[in-house]
Symmetry: C2
Subunit: 352 residues, 2 copies
Amino acid sequence: MSDKVRIALDAMGGDHGPSVILPGADIALMRHPDVEFLLFGDTAQLNPVLDGLPRLKAASKVTHTDVAIRMDDKPSQALRYGRWKSSMWLTLDAVKKGEADVAVSAGNTGALMAMSRFNLKMLEGIERPAIAALWPTLKGESIVLDVGASIGADESHLINLAAMGSAMARVLFDIERPTVGLLNIGVEEVKGLEQVREAGRILRETPSLDFDYHGFVEGDDIGKGVVDVVVTEGFAGNIALKTAEGTAHQLASYLRAAMNRTWASRLGYLFARAAFQALREKMDPRKANGGVFLGLNGIVIKSHGGADAEGTAAAIDMGYDMVRYKLLAKIGQSMERDLQARSAQIATGAAS
Amino acid sequence: MSDKVRIALDAMGGDHGPSVILPGADIALMRHPDVEFLLFGDTAQLNPVLDGLPRLKAASKVTHTDVAIRMDDKPSQALRYGRWKSSMWLTLDAVKKGEADVAVSAGNTGALMAMSRFNLKMLEGIERPAIAALWPTLKGESIVLDVGASIGADESHLINLAAMGSAMARVLFDIERPTVGLLNIGVEEVKGLEQVREAGRILRETPSLDFDYHGFVEGDDIGKGVVDVVVTEGFAGNIALKTAEGTAHQLASYLRAAMNRTWASRLGYLFARAAFQALREKMDPRKANGGVFLGLNGIVIKSHGGADAEGTAAAIDMGYDMVRYKLLAKIGQSMERDLQARSAQIATGAAS
C-alpha cells in the first residue's frame, strides 16, 4: 500500500450517476486529503462534472468505459454484458490488481455482489460473503451482519460472521474486544433457530476468542446498542434493517404532522428548531450509508443507490477507514487465530 | 353464543397479576358493557382488588386456583405442573368447554401457546399455530403474522397464514377484500426465500381467493401500510416486530433528549405540548397490545406481560371484536372456500 489511500470509485453507479457521485467524492477528499481516486465511467459524463471540481480532478485518474450496469438488471444479466468492461467491473478489478485499496459503488447490489465474488474470490476459510451495516444505537453505533448477501446460515457461517464483524468493529470503533450477540427470538437458551443455538453453544465453549460473546439478542436490543456486533443470517437481517428504516420514516412523518397541527405547535417548533435540526442529523440515514461486503479478497463498499453527495461521501469515508485501519489484515488474523480453535470445538460438538 | 360476549381472563398472568389485570378488565367493561368475565386465579389476591371495582365484580364470575404459571418457565415445565389446574389452563378450558367465547392471558407466551395447542387443538387443515400482531402504519393499522409462534414456514403454511390473516383483517378493519403481501427481501420475483417465492407463485395463480394478493413487500413497506396483511414465518416476523419496537423507543429517546437541550427547545416543547401528547398517543404501544393466536379451535389473545391496565384493556377489546365479528367462523369459511382451489394449485405446481 502506498502512503495514499487509493479508492476505486464506480462513477456510474446509483440512481444519479456522476452528478452526485463525484461531488460526494469531493466532500470525502476534503476530509481525507490523503486519498487518491481511480474513477471509472463514461468520460463524456464524468469530465464536465470533474471540470467543476478542480480539487477532485487533481487527485483522480479517470478510466473511460461506456458500459454501465443498470440498477434493475439481474446479477446474471449484469455479468453477461458487464464483465471485463463495465465501470463496476473495472472498479473491482482495480482492487484485484492491487491498483486500489478499496472499491466503492452505488450500483445494483446483486450485480455488485456477483461481480465481487467472481472477480475478487472469497477469503480462505469463508464460503459465503456477507453485507455488514452500521446501525445507529442509543450508545453510538453497532455493526449488524449479514443484512442480505445470502439467505440462511449454518452455525459455521454464523461463527464466521461473528469473526468478520468483530474484526470490523475493532477497525471502526477502535475497541480491542468487541461484544458479539446472536440475533434470535427469545433470549432463553431453549428458544429460536437450531443453527443459532448451536452457534451460541460453540461460541460459549470456545476459549481464546478475540471478542466477547454476549449471548442471544432480540430485535429490540439492536437499537439499544446491547452489543457492538449483531450476527444474523441475511434474510432476517435484511428485514430487520428495512423495518427499522421504515419505522424511523414513519415516526418522522408522525412528528412532522404533530408539529403542524396547531398554531401553538408551530410556534413551539420555531423555538425548538435547533433541537429538531439536531434530531434530524442524529436520524440522518446518510451518515450510516455504506454496506461493507465481507469475506472477499478485497474490500468493497456498497453505497445506497439513492444516496446524495453527502451519503456518497459517508460511504467513501467508511472505505477509507477500512483501509487505514487494515480491515482485511485484521479479518485474516481473526480467522487464522480462531478458526482452528473453533473447528476443534465444532468437531467436539459433533462427536458428543 | 349468548347475547353477552363471555371473556375468560387469566387474572394471574403478566408481570403484575390481578392488581393490573383487573383494573384493565374494568376499563374494557366500561367500553363494552355487554361483556361477562370469567376470572381465574387466586381469590386471596383477586378478591381485595375486585372489592374496589364493583362494576367489574358484578359482571364477573371468579374461579379459584392457587396454581399460576411463572413468567420464565419453559413450556414443558408449565404443562407439567400447570395442566388441568393453573389459572392459564382454566382460562383456556373455559373456551374449550364453550363457557367462554375468547381467552385472554398476559402469561408466558411459550406456555400459553403450548397449553392452547394441547387443550384447544388445531383447526382442521391447519398444522401450526401463528401469532398475529396489529401494526400501526402511516395509513392506519395492518396485521402482521406470524410474529413468533413457530420458526420457518413452507409455502402451504404461508398460504394458510394469508388466509387466516385476511380473515382477521376482514373482522378488525371491516374490509371485504384485504390486500395481502408476502414479506421478502427484494421485490423482484427472483429474489428471496424459495418457499416465499413459491407461495407467491401459488397465490398469483390461484383464482377466487377471498383477498387481493399484492406480491412481495419489504421490511420498510410494513410501516407504510402498503398492504392490510403482511405474511411471514415466525423468526423473521418476531425480529421485525421487536426491531420496530426498539427503533420506536430509540427515536422517542432521541426526541426527549433533543427537547431538553436548550431553554429554547424546552420552551418550544411547552408550546407544542398538545402536539407531543398526540404523538405520544399515536406511538403508544399499549393501543396495539394483544397478539392473536390463530389456527386453534378457539380464540386466544396474548396480552403483553408488561402491559399496564390500559394495555390489558386493549387486549381485551381486541378479544371482544374477534368474538363480536365472528373471527373463527370467518377463518373457517376462508379455509373451506379456498383450500381446495389452493390444493389444486399446489398440485399443479408440483406436477409442472
